[in-house]
Assembly symmetry: C2
Homo-oligomer: 146 residues x 2
DNA sequence: CCATTATGCATAACATCCTTATGAATGCAC
DNA sequence: GTGCATTCATAAGGATGTTATGCATAATGG
């Protein structure tokens, strides 16, 4: 490549990401989750039990909306409400086994679809993407800690 | 780890993309578009005028749903309905200037937010991402032509 | 060339999922 | 304890999606 300045362009990255977003959105069909439901379940899978208000803020959703979403997901067996021992106002929400399994299934759907597309690329392109993965991981990492 | 080949992993890419997706979703606030509206407008901006049914299929939405969405976006001045000369059943939908401008504004929002995060990365990470951009562009390119 | 069938869009009725406003229970500060 | 803050739930309504259906136009086949 160049040895000069390799300017990383947010604009170019956004254009690519926009298309990957629609791609991913169309591929993940298992479980019939709304966007908010998917994101909330994802969060619970990563961070463990959270309060309803906490979860709502994390998803930029209203607290009543999150209460209702939790009720729906609870009815479908994806999450469980538990009491917080030291504060009886708080309701902790955690993913059930079925919820975690659904997450994995959806991720597998996406991964497989992506993999098929990756496999059709030139080896050099595949290598370039593979080489950028750690950097992209750090990008989202630095993002989530604000 | 256990082999020498630089294997591009769909699974790892999906994990990173999932987080970038939520990031982007939270950043794009201009115009207050639904996910479907954003995707449809994006499509119109890229591919020009399309029929309502065509547009619905592209977004995996129902045709009546797309009719209603087009009606709403038309009311907001984002798209325009025009007649197709050689088939009077078909209604062609195209983005207006205001629609295209809104697309650009949303993209700029996303790009700026991403850029700020990119700027905080190590130069090597920035370079790795920049180097992977053409490959990622080809990835989505090969995707959209199916 | 006319009857039949297919296609494309719109409308109606309804479901889902979000919002704001508000209430009830619990915790905290004084 | 009284008053205020916090947390979740409920109620009511709005936005946005769905399926079922109708109407206009086009294509097809005797």
């Amino acid at each position: 490549m160049h040895n000069g300045v390799m300017q990383t362009s947010g604009t170019e990255l956004v254009v690519v990401l926009e298309q990957l977003v629609t791609f991913i959105r169309q591929v993940s069909t298992a479980g019939d989750l709304s966007a908010t439901a998917s994101a909330a379940l994802h969060r619970l899978g990563r961070d463990g039990a959270l309060g309803v208000t906490e979860l709502a803020q994390a998803q930029r959703a209203s607290q009543p909306g999150m209460t209702q979403l939790v009720t729906r997901m609870e009815r479908e067996g994806l999450v469980r409400r538990t009491a917080k021992t030291d504060d009886r106002r708080t309701v902790l929400v955690e993913a059930t086994e079925a919820g975690l399994e659904l997450l994995n299934r959806r991720r597998a759907e996406r991964a497989e679809a992506l993999q098929q597309t990756l496999d059709r690329l030139d080896p050099e392109d595949q290598a370039a993407i593979a080489a950028a993965l750690p950097a992209l991981a750090r990008l989202v990492e630095s993002r989530s800690s604000d």
